[in-house]
């Protein structure tokens, strides 16, 4: 993987978008998965804390 692709693939915003997209897509059919993704969003939002 070249540097540009690696940089894109590891962008810090990517997990937020990933968790969010899955949460919204799953909401109609798999609400349990939506809850898990909401948990993921909350966990990742603490990236700036220790």
């Amino acid at each position: 993987m070249n540097d540009a692709a690696r940089r894109w693939a590891t962008d810090p915003l990517l997990p937020s978008l990933g968790f969010g997209c899955v949460a919204l897509v799953a909401a109609a059919s798999w609400p349990v998965l939506t809850w898990a993704m909401i948990g993921g969003l909350a966990g990742y939002s603490l990236s700036g804390s220790v």
């Binding site: 590891t10 915003l13 919204l24 948990g39 966990g43 939002s45």
Partner: protein, 155 residues
């Protein structure tokens, strides 16, 4: 724990419970976006860091203690509102133990994503700088996307 206490709210109509969740989620978005006066709402937390010497004295036990104190919030800085929204949502929604369990697992996955992504970047300090510039977007999107998801779940 939250699921256990959620039964206390079960007698309330589902619309009311999800309405409260949505209202809190909207306040969280405004707070994380820095909108006054919501930006000044304090978050309950024990603003102390786990001492680094816990890792130096005994690494395996220290790492377990570090993870426990950080993960349970005994000693940590909380920089986002979304975790509190999720906690309140689990308390009010009364959706069942599987939902509570998977939400907790998802939370752990989210916490793990930061060091994993940093490691995968192959350039820790530049990645840290990129994270720093995106933190506001991350926290606002967490509470915002959660609010939209709760809106769909309530529907």
């Amino acid at each position: 724990m939250l699921w256990l206490f959620s039964g206390l709210f079960a007698p309330l109509p589902s619309d009311s419970r999800y309405g409260a969740i949505l209202a809190i989620a909207v306040v969280a978005v405004l707070r994380d976006a820095g909108v006054a006066p919501f930006a000044s709402i304090p978050l309950p937390q024990n603003r102390r860091q786990v001492p680094q010497d816990v890792l130096q004295r005994d690494l395996p036990r220290g790492a377990a203690r570090f993870g426990f104190e950080l993960g349970t919030g005994v000693r940590t800085f909380v920089s986002a509102t979304a975790p509190y929204v999720v906690a309140v949502a689990l308390l009010l929604a009364n959706e069942g133990p599987l939902v509570a369990l998977l939400t907790g697992l998802g939370f752990g996955l989210g916490r793990a994503a930061t060091p994993l992504l940093r490691y995968a970047s192959g350039a820790g300090e530049p990645w840290d700088e990129r994270l720093r510039t995106r933190l506001r977007a991350i926290t606002v999107s967490a509470s915002g996307l959660s609010a939209v998801a709760f809106l769909v779940l309530a529907g």
